[in-house]
Structure formats: structure tokens, C-alpha cells
């Protein structure tokens, strides 16, 4: 059944791409479009968004993870990120972190109301955080000891230990009403956000209308309709004039659509190849999967690959230019270490690194070897992802001239999982929360799952990451996050341990109606689609 489905979706892709080609020839008279789409076309009364997502199959309950990125729409959060990813007050008016970093005292505004008319109090905030700790969803507040309302507008969030990344929970966790919370809350979200839920046809569409009681600036666009369709259907909907915002894959972004403008939004939706860091000594994960790879455990191999790859060529050739080179996992974020960037595409430098590391081609087969071990390994990628396939194949091609042979194999994730600790894997991550950096590189994170799958371990990096995580606030943590990447002597990026070869960051491509002003989008995380809504309450319809 699974294979059937894959065929289906691929075939659907082909057909719709074809249709795209067909209809990019002279535009049809609009009357024909209207036949299929009565009363379409955006206005400040209503816009239709086709964002190809499944973010809310389980409803709109922030304690289960709704609103992790993008806008929570129906709820509001204590803080929010602006377009430069700086924190701003939203429901909160101020917050202080105690010197030991364990108590976050947040004061909230007194004039906020839930959409049922009842005021938002510190009691609701405390309830939300405590509930998130119990719900067992996609938001992680396990560091929270308890949340207590100390006055109607003050709440104390007491942590088990300091955690600089906890501020991300203040940004992502929408406040739910204590009085109206139940197991069914996710389907009847009552909140203090800019919009109210009108109707949710599961698997089809979501309709939201402006919340007139919203304490902030009431959005100009009165009604939002989200079509819950796949990327190809999103493109078709935009093409037919039915959607005013559509997220499309990079491959379709080269098309043009009448009266729509392409937004090509920077993201940390990165792709990179993960190297098993340790040699294979027969050790296994708790599930019995082999750990380590004798070839990639050699620093010279990892560095040579990093220098040998031409990332710009990958961006232009595979992503149609909709992307940027990645030298680390956090490109463009405030904690990116710019000094970790390298000049790549240097075949000679790569060869030199290999030679200095003791690798040489003695038998003349074009592949270097060391102590009789040829520089050869397997690169795994999820077979359903055509971009990763192209990246893996291109990288293999690019490193062939330096004498390294990479055998590229596509598999399903469940086949990759047992192999990913002993083979090179083409992964993609990317988050606005630096917790991800910790889990990618801390030796303690390596537990036989996706966290630090390569069993990277460097005690110096571990201690810097611990300092970053334990810092009382993000500003202080940033220095440590940067140092972990590269501090002049050590780091997990190329000049240091070169634990990964990061390749590219994808741009997220959206078609947006020329009448719609969506402001400045943030640098987006891994998800393509919903994150564009982060500032949706500020969107303006500029035509009449």
C-alpha cells in the first residue's frame, strides 16, 4: 500500500507540473476561471491561503504543540519574535529572570480578553504552562517545575534548572483559558489571539475571522480561509486564481502566475550530510544498531569533503537558485558564527588535507586509501525526497575528484534508522530554537535515535553547549552557541571537528497576490508553509 501511495503522489506531482506548463502559455480568459471558482479573488474581506500543511490535524491546542511556529491565530503568546527574530512583548509587559536563572517572573497586560469576553489572568498563564507539562504533545516544557500565579497579572515560572532556551516556550506557547479548557479544547479554541475559529472542515479547510476583542491592532483582513491541500494542489489553486497565498516547491517557483508575486523567503531549513564520528568498534545502540564508520571517523575525510563540495553549484543546480550555502546548522540566526564559514569548492585544498591526513591513492584506482582502507562510504537519503536525492548524488559526484567514493542509496526512514549511526545520511533540520544545536552535537544526546545520530563527542564542545543551555538568558547564551560552532581553536564546524558537512539552506517559495502586503517574513524554520503566517495579523490588502 505504501508503495502505491508514493506512486500516486509522484504521479500527481508530474501531472500538475505538466498542467502548470500547459497553462503558463497565454492566459485563459478569466471568465473560464470563474466557471470553476465562483466568487473567488481576495479582498480585505477575505483571502484564501493554500499552505500545504498538516500542522493541525489534532486541533488547535497550544499545550499539544499548536503554534510552535507561524501564528497561533486563535491564541496569543507572552512574547513574540519580530521579523529580525528579536523578542518583543505580546501578552507580557515585562519579564525578569532571577540571577540563578531558575525563576522567570512574567507580568502580563491587564486588558487582554479571551474571545468569550473573560479577561486573561496570570492564573490562565500558569495553567497553560502546567498543562503543557502534562499534555504530552509537541511542546517540551519538561524543565518546568511549576508555574504559579502570584498576582492577577504576575506569574512565576519555576524551572528545575536554568535553561536559556526556555524563552522559546514564552514565544510559542499560546495561552489557553483555564475556565474553558477540556479535552475537546483543540476543536473549540477560545483564546486572546487576533482571529477566531469559525469553521474547520478537517482535511479540507480552516476558516478564521477577526477577533473584535483583540487587544492588539485588529488585523485589516477580516477573514482567512486556509486550504489544506498538498503542494501541487496549492499551486493549481493559485494558478486558478482561487488562492491569494500559496506555498510551492522550489521546482515550481520558476513558473509565473498572473497577478502573483514570488516571495522567496530565507530559511534555516537546512540540508547536510551527517558523518558517523567514531570508528566502528562493534558497539551498538540500545536497539542493536551498529555505531561508527572507520572512514568518516577520520577528520581529514570530513574536512576534505567540506572543502571539496561546491555549495553554490548545489544551490544553483538543484534549488534553481532558491537557497543559500550552509556552513553550519543555524545560517542567518542571531547565534550563527560567521567566522565558521569557509571557502569551498577547493579541490586542491581538499586533496592536500587528505594527503596530510595520510590518505593516498597507491593502487591508482582513483580512490585514496589509508592503511589499506579505501575512502569509500554509503550516503543514505529518504527515497521519497527528490531534492535530497539530487543533493546526495551531486555531492558524490563533487567529491569523486578528490578521491572519495560515496555510494548513494535511497531508502525509507524506517530502513535508514538502524543504519544511520554507521552510515552517512542526508538529513534536514532547522529551528528558530537553539535547542536543536544542543541535540545535534552534545555527546549526551547520542542515545541511538535522531539526536546526534553520528555519536559526535568532544568534551570541550559539550561543556560549551552546557554553558549555552544553562545561561540565564538568550543574550548570554548566544556567545556560547557561537563558540561551540568555532571559537578560533575548536568547534563542531569545518575548521574544528567538521562533524557534519552542511550543504544548503532552502528558500521557502510562496506565490502571493500582488495586492497583498505580507510585510517582512522571518527567517523560517524547517516547515515550509505555515511559518509564513508568523506576522499574519499585520498583513494588508492594498487594492480596492
Amino acid at each position: 500500500m505504501k508503495s502505491n501511495l508514493k506512486t500516486t503522489s509522484c504521479a500527481a506531482g508530474i501531472v500538475l507540473a505538466l498542467s502548470a506548463c500547459v497553462s503558463s502559455t497565454p492566459e485563459r480568459p478569466s471568465s473560464q476561471n470563474n466557471a470553476a471558482a465562483p466568487q473567488q479573488g481576495g479582498s480585505s474581506e477575505q483571502i484564501v491561503l493554500a499552505l500545504s500543511n498538516s500542522e493541525f490535524d489534532d486541533g488547535f491546542d497550544p499545550t499539544l504543540g499548536w503554534g510552535r511556529y507561524g501564528s497561533p491565530l486563535f491564541q496569543s503568546t507572552l512574547l513574540r519574535r519580530n521579523s529580525k527574530l528579536e523578542f518583543e512583548n505580546d501578552l507580557a509587559t515585562s519579564y525578569i529572570v532571577s540571577d540563578d536563572g531558575k525563576v522567570w517572573t512574567v507580568t502580563i497586560r491587564a486588558d487582554a480578553k479571551f474571545s468569550d469576553g473573560i479577561p486573561v489572568t496570570a492564573e490562565d498563564v500558569a495553567f497553560t504552562f502546567n498543562q503543557a507539562g502534562e499534555s504530552g504533545g509537541k511542546t517540551d516544557v519538561t524543565v518546568l517545575q511549576e508555574a504559579i500565579a502570584t498576582s492577577p497579572t504576575t506569574v512565576e515560572l519555576r524551572l528545575k534548572q536554568p535553561q536559556s532556551t526556555f524563552i522559546n516556550r514564552l514565544v510559542t506557547l499560546g495561552i489557553v483559558p483555564k475556565h474553558a479548557y477540556s479535552a475537546e479544547y483543540g476543536r473549540n479554541p477560545i483564546g486572546s489571539g487576533p482571529y477566531k475559529l469559525v469553521q474547520w472542515d478537517e482535511g479540507q479547510q480552516l476558516i478564521a475571522e477577526v477577533n473584535p476583542d483583540y487587544y492588539g491592532t485588529v488585523p485589516q483582513i477580516k477573514r482567512l480561509v486556509f486550504l489544506l491541500v498538498e503542494e501541487d494542489a496549492a499551486f493549481a489553486a493559485a494558478k486558478a486564481g482561487q488562492a491569494q497565498v500559496a506555498s510551492v516547491p522550489q521546482t515550481l517557483a520558476v513558473q509565473s502566475i498572473d497577478s502573483m508575486k514570488l516571495y522567496d523567503v530565507k530559511s534555516v531549513d537546512n540540508r547536510g550530510i551527517m558523518f558517523p564520528y567514531v570508528p566502528n568498534t562493534g558497539k551498538t545502540t540500545p536497539d542493536g544498531a551498529a555505531i561508527g564508520n572507520d572512514v568518516t571517523a577520520d577528520l581529514a575525510i570530513r574536512q576534505a569533503i567540506n572543502y571539496g563540495i561546491d555549495r553554490k553549484a548545489l544551490v544553483d543546480g538543484i534549488l534553481e537558485g532558491y537557497g543559500s550555502p550552509a556552513y553550519g546548522p543555524v545560517t542567518g540566526l542571531p547565534w550563527e558564527q560567521k567566522e565558521a564559514d569557509i571557502e569551498d569548492g577547493q579541490i586542491d585544498r581538499a586533496k592536500q588535507i587528505l594527503a596530510e591526513g595520510g590518505w593516498g591513492d597507491k593502487n591508482g584506482d582513483g580512490i585514496v586509501e589509508k592503511n589499506g582502507q579505501p575512502a569509500e562510504f554509503t550516503v543514505l537519503y529518504p527515497a521519497s525526497d527528490s531534492i535530497r536525492q539530487a543533493l546526495a548524488l551531486s555531492v558524490a559526484e563533487q567529491i569523486k575528484p578528490i578521491g572519495i567514493r560515496a555510494n548513494v542509496e535511497g531508502k525509507s526512514w524506517d530502513e535508514i534508522e538502524p543504519l544511520m549511526h554507521s552510515n552517512v545520511v542526508l538529513f534536514g533540520w532547522g529551528s528558530q530554537d537553539p535547542t536543536e544545536v544542543y541535540n545535534l552535537y552534545h555527546s549526551k544526546s547520542a542515545q541511538g535515535d535522531f539526536n546526534n545520530a553520528g555519536y559526535y563527542a568532544d568534551s570541550k564542545i559539550d561543556s560549551v553547549l552546557d554553558l549555552a543551555m544553562g545561561a540565564p538568558n538568550q543574550e548570554e547564551a548566544i556567545a556560547f552557541w557561537k563558540a561551540a560552532q568555532w571559537n578560533g581553536q575548536t568547534g563542531f564546524t569545518t575548521k574544528g571537528d567538521a562533524a557534519w558537512a552542511w550543504l544548503v539552506n532552502l528558500d521557502h517559495t510562496y506565490f502571493v497576490n500582488t495586492c497583498l502586503n505580507i510585510g517582512t517574513p522571518q527567517i523560517e524554520p524547517h516547515g515550509h508553509g505555515w511559518p509564513i503566517t508568523a506576522n499574519i495579523s499585520e498583513w494588508k490588502w492594498t487594492c480596492n
Partner: protein
């Protein structure tokens, strides 16, 4: 006679119970052994932001921290009290999910079923009556081609022609975007289910048409038809008085047996047309390892198909007096 039917039903119910128990065990065990980790599938790309502690909380919420046997027994106990559990991906009782999704699918399935039955029978009769003619060849060609075509391929072709090129049918969904449920007209609903229903009917006719044709040819070559012809009966008369009664039985059997194919076909057709019915929910449940929902759907579909076959069994005795239950014994 009354006693006969009661005994018949009792036997059928007993078999149903056994079937459902077998289905429950097999599907539960198979899905539990699936290599897809339900927590990974649930968390998705945010995996690296979820600590092991949070994973434990998620596992507890779904009872995944228990061994499979314990989970199975707990599940059976729940089932006995009529509770199918809670869907992981929809965070809603499984019965609610199945109920609402099936309602959406039902209209489509019903239309496809009726059309394919009626059309298939008609085509089969025409082909059988004119066996060897160009009309027969055309119908057979159509039936063989369609019987060999994958559902999703036919669905894509229809989508390409009618939605993308001609723009006379919608591209997706069961209702027009942005329209509140209470404002959706019957015509709009029909408009949205034309293509998925057409896909299933186009394919569904093949089987019935071919079988009906074969049976009719058999009938037309029989002695009693020869006798009727000798008496001067016309072809139409022969089909009406001798043919239909004989071919209706296999046609009915096939028609009810096709419920399972229809159900399977709807999984693919709904996927192509983004039609939010039970078929689409099945795909999501399977790909994201939502054990309670998938087992619930398997259970439901077993019941659905079994009921179809049971109805077929019961209609035999109305159609054909020779196999009236309880009469012979």
C-alpha cells in the same frame, strides 16, 4: 421458515464475531510490528527539540510505554465496552473520526456503487446479446482496459482533463473553499463528488459487465432458449423472460462483493482528489502509525464488507425461489 432464517442469522453472526476477532488480532499485531515509530511520526521535523523526557510523556499519553500484549488486552477490554480508543493524529475518539469521515465518503461510494452496478449490468447484457459484434468488442475492450487500469491513474487523467484543462470540475475537496457548511448547496456537494464517484464507477463497471456478458452468452446457448426461439420469441423477450433472471444472481453477488474493491479504490481516489473521506484518513493513519485509528478503520471496513455479502446472501432468496433459506431442510 422463520426458524430457518433465525438459525441462518445466528450462524452468520457467529462467523462475523470470529472474523472480527481474527481481524483485530492480525491488524493490531501487524501494525504494532510496523517499523514506523509512532512518536517519531507524530513529532516529525521538530524531533530535535523534544527531549527524551518529553518523549516519555508522549509515550505515556498513548500507552506506548506498555508492552504489546498489555496494550492489546487493554484495547480488547475497551473494545468490549464499545470504545475503539482515541486516534493519535486527530486527537479524537476513533468512532467520531470514522463516523464523520465515512459520512463524507458514503455519498461518493453510494453513487459510484449504484452507477457501476446499473451501467455494468446494462453493458454486460448488450455485449452478451450481441456477442461478437463490434459493440461487444468495444465494450470488452473498454472493460479489459479499465479492469487493468490503476484507480489513481484513472483519477489523475480525469483530474487533468476535467479540472485542470476544461476547468469544469473542482480541483479538490468536498466543498468549495471559504463557504460555511450551512451555506453549501446540494449542487455544490454533487459538483465536488462527481469526479471521485466517476472514477470509481468507470472502473467498477468492468467486472460486472464482463461477468454478466459471459453468463448471458451461456444462457443464450442453452436448450431452453433454443426452444423459446423455436417458438418465435424475440431476443428482447428472451433476455427479459429467461436471461435477466439468470444473470441477476451473479451480478448481485459481484455487486455486493465489489464493496470491498470500492472501499479500496476510494483510498486512492480520495487521495488524488483531496477528498476528506475515510480513504484519506486511512492513508494518514497508516503513514503515521496511528494504531487505534487504523485498527478501527480495518474493523469498520471488515464489518462493511461483511454486511455487503450478508445482504447479497439475503437477496438471493428473494430473487431466486430455488435457494430460499430453510426451505430445503
Amino acid at each position: 421458515m422463520q426458524l430457518g432464517i433465525a438459525a441462518f442469522m445466528l450462524r452468520k453472526l457467529l462467523r462475523l464475531a470470529l472474523l472480527l476477532i481474527a481481524v483485530a488480532i492480525f491488524s493490531f499485531v501487524l501494525i504494532s510490528l510496523s517499523p514506523i515509530d509512532p512518536i517519531d511520526a507524530y513529532v516529525g521535523a521538530d524531533m530535535l527539540q523534544i527531549s527524551p523526557e518529553q518523549r516519555d510523556i508522549i509515550a505515556q499519553r498513548w500507552g506506548l510505554d506498555q508492552p504489546m500484549m498489555t496494550r492489546f488486552i487493554l484495547w480488547l477490554r475497551q473494545l468490549a465496552s464499545g470504545n475503539l480508543g482515541t486516534s493519535i493524529i486527530f486527537n479524537q475518539p476513533v468512532s467520531t473520526v470514522i463516523g464523520s469521515r465515512f459520512q463524507t465518503s458514503l455519498q461518493m461510494l453510494a453513487i459510484a456503487w449504484l452507477i457501476s452496478g446499473a451501467l455494468g449490468l446494462a453493458m454486460g447484457v448488450v455485449a452478451g446479446a450481441r456477442a461478437g459484434s463490434w459493440l461487444d468488442r468495444a465494450i470488452r475492450f473498454y472493460a479489459y482496459t479499465l479492469a487493468a487500469s490503476p484507480t489513481f491513474w484513472v483519477a489523475l487523467l480525469l483530474l487533468l482533463v476535467f479540472s485542470v484543462s476544461l476547468k469544469i470540475t473542482p480541483i479538490c475537496c468536498a466543498t468549495p473553499p471559504g463557504v460555511l457548511t450551512r451555506d453549501v448547496t446540494v449542487w455544490q456537494r454533487l459538483h465536488h463528488l462527481i469526479l471521485p464517484a466517476a472514477t470509481l464507477s468507470l472502473i467498477g463497471v468492468a467486472n460486472i459487465a464482463l461477468h454478466t456478458r459471459q453468463k448471458l452468452i451461456e444462457v443464450l446457448n442453452s436448450d431452453y432458449v433454443l426452444f423459446a426461439r423455436a417458438q418465435g420469441e424475440s431476443l428482447v423477450g428472451i433476455i427479459r423472460h429467461h436471461g435477466l433472471r439468470n444473470i441477476i444472481l451473479p451480478a448481485l453477488t459481484l455487486q455486493f462483493a465489489s464493496l470491498s474493491e470500492l472501499f479500496g479504490g476510494s483510498v486512492l481516489a480520495e487521495q488524488v482528489f483531496s477528498y476528506p473521506g475515510l480513504g484519506k484518513a486511512t492513508v494518514e493513519a497508516a503513514l503515521r502509525s496511528d494504531v487505534p485509528l487504523l485498527v478501527g478503520i480495518v474493523f469498520f471496513s471488515a464489518l462493511f464488507v461483511y454486511t455487503g455479502n450478508l445482504i447479497a446472501d439475503l437477496t438471493y432468496q428473494i430473487v431466486d425461489p430455488r435457494i430460499r433459506i430453510g426451505k430445503s431442510s
